[in-house]
Symmetry: C2
Subunit: 144 residues, 2 copies
């Protein structure tokens, strides 16, 4: 499945003296998902863990919280930043964001996996460049 | 201190049939920060907790990780979504994102607090609207 990206890149120019592209921040809206899956904490934790690996990221910690009467949040703390999901099962909707640093990251693959895993019939993806200082380009942190 | 916002709102139009504004996603770059503060895990945890409260948010969980030789990540899981910070003390740089749902949220106040607390001499803020379904507008989750 190919992710359709209506805005391939939203590159907001700021200060010339700083900055080259280093990190990507993806905002993904998932509509018409399977509501049961969106409310299944174990499943969502597993999906987030797998999605992180599809992005070529290293999961350091994974936290989640289930709300009442429904809905949950799961966040993976990555060596390369983070991946979060917030779900509203009553609407079949999930809001995802993925922030990755380093040229070897493939956050778009994580998006494809999430779309498939949650049976999302419609989605909307935005990709933004973070404006990091040049010197940290490709400077991926060590996990420990 | 007033946050300068070079892009008051980046509103990417997608599908007409869905969607009204519900959540805000803020991407904040902090430059020329105090490097010692950026590498102080206890301090950053405290700052994230306070920033969440300035945003009028409820902190459910707060996780952090310190990298070697420097840098850290801290993420607050909120009843109203999340607030994250990733720091590169060697460059005086921090990347923040805040996702909040609900009209009572004040994520811009969290940004002001973070700028002050980390002694950031320069910053860059982008505010994006999340494209949530209409029916979850103002539907803030219960924490427990």
């Amino acid at each position: 499945m190919k992710v359709s990206n209506q805005n391939e890149e939203i590159n907001i120019v700021s200060n010339n003296e700083i900055i080259e592209f280093e990190g990507k921040h993806l905002l993904l809206e998932l509509y018409n998902c399977d509501s049961l899956k969106l409310n299944d904490e174990s499943y969502i934790r597993c999906v987030i863990d797998h999605a992180s690996k599809f992005a070529n990221a290293t999961v350091i910690n994974l936290v989640s919280h289930k709300f009442q009467p429904q809905g949950l949040t799961a966040i993976a703390l990555l060596a390369e930043s983070h991946l979060s999901i917030h779900t509203w099962p009553e609407s079949g909707y999930a809001a995802v964001d993925i922030f990755t640093c380093g040229k070897n990251m493939k956050p778009e693959l994580a998006c494809e996996y999430l779309i498939d895993s949650l049976d999302s019939a419609k989605h909307y993806l935005r990709i933004l460049r973070r404006k990091s200082p040049l010197e940290i380009q490709d400077h991926v942190k060590n996990s420990y």
